[in-house]
Amino acid sequence: MSTPQAFIVADHVCKSFGAHQVLCDVSTHFNTGEVTVIIGASGSGKSTLLRAINRLEPHDSGSITIEGVPVSDDIATLQKQRCDVGMVFQQFNLFGHLSVLDNITLAPRRVRHTARAQANASACMSMRTSTRGSSRAASSSAWPLPALWP
């Protein structure tokens, strides 16, 4: 087995909303090929950390890097990073105007420019495998995507 490599690294990350400090000097890392769980009381900043990794909530200080590249406001880099690191929201935020299939295939089609037929086929395949396994619901989670997207 190869030694685990740090894929996402958070270094002294701070974030506050007004006077309320949510992330206080957080340093951690997530390795490739591992499942990591973040546990904490509600309001302790689990989701904020995930949102910061996705740059939906810019952090105040410290640094977050994905494969050594810092997460910043640079649109091109950010887009590339968001292709590799996804997130499931607490309220899921499904696209209500789209079918289940279109919800799944929207990103592969638009981001990876996969043809619709191919995207549909691979989406149907992953739907079949995920219904066979137990439901693995998580309130929110970040995960590396390449395995799912061809």
């Binding site: 996705n54 939906l56 649109i75 887009q79 590339k80 968001r82 292709c83 996804g86 997130m87 929201f89 309220q91 935020n93 499904l94 696209f95 209500g96 105007h97 789209l98 079918s99 929207l106 990103a107 638009r110 981001v111």
Partner: protein, 260 residues
């Protein structure tokens, strides 16, 4: 409602299509046979049936052209009002403030009489002047409806789309706009129906549309009840058919099945 007429087993899309097609066919049919239908009526309608039919066609044409332009204008103004660039927001706000704060009749008269004086060489014919004024007017109201739709799309939708790595244009066109349009559709339709009726104000600058025809005939024949009732019923026919078309569109966009 036409949508409810179709068999239960038909899909939403099939019913929507059937309604759209039949409402459009009915619209064309109504306009083409209106002349013949009215000619069976007693005086003074029968002898002026063709004038009524031509007036109705002008009214519908005026509404369709200004409605389309107004929708484009409204969407642009709504985007400008929600834009990041402050100057753009100001321009859009000024436009909406000026148009919504002045009477439509004044706007129509202004475009027809004052604009040629302000911009030498710009002598718009009556129909074009009415189209410009009506589009500007309905555009301002549409922009507020579209803006309401844009603001009603939850922030989580944008965040989810961005988190998937979608570019800014895709976030807008694939996720935000379709949902915003669906929410904005009912007020947009009511603006369109209002426009159909407001197009009657174009008679002030001499456009020979339905109201103008009716008014001329009633003053020539001294029979206001018959002529104005015919005018009103024709408007009612047109607005009913327009509402059927918009209902069909609304029904199609309603993926969650809330519209019964």
């Amino acid at each position: 409602m036409l949508v409810a007429l179709w068999p239960e087993r038909w899909s939403r899309q099939q019913r929507s299509n059937a309604t759209l097609v039949s409402a459009l066919v009915l619209m064309v049919l109504a306009l083409s046979v209106l002349g013949q239908l009215l000619s069976f009526l007693p005086e003074p309608i029968g002898s002026n049936a063709q004038a009524f039919a031509a007036g109705a066609r002008t009214t519908l044409w005026l509404t369709l052209v200004s409605g389309t332009l107004g929708l484009l204008l409204g969407t642009c103004a709504a985007l400008a009002r929600t834009a990041r660039w402050r100057a753009l927001r100001w321009v859009a706000s000024f436009y909406i403030w000026a148009i919504r704060g002045t009477p439509l009749l004044v706007q129509i008269l202004f475009v027809y009489f004052a604009l040629p004086a302000l911009v030498p060489g710009l002598n718009l014919p009556d129909f074009a002047a009415a189209v410009v004024a009506l589009s500007l007017n309905v555009g301002a109201y549409n922009s507020e409806s579209v803006r309401a739709g844009l603001l009603a799309v939850p922030r989580g939708q944008t965040e989810a789309a961005r988190a998937l790595g979608l570019g800014r244009l895709h976030v807008f066109f694939d996720v935000v706009f379709p949902q915003a349009f669906k929410i904005a559709l009912p007020p947009l339709v009511s603006n369109f129906v209002a426009l159909l009726k407001d197009s009657s104000l174009a008679y002030a600058i001499g456009v020979v549309e339905l109201t103008n025809v009716g008014n001329r005939i009633q003053s020539a024949t001294f029979q206001p009840i018959a002529t104005l009732s015919t005018v009103a019923v024709t408007y009612l026919l047109l607005t009913t058919l327009v509402t059927q078309i918009s209902n069909a569109i609304e029904y199609r966009f309603d993926v969650e099945g809330r519209v019964k």
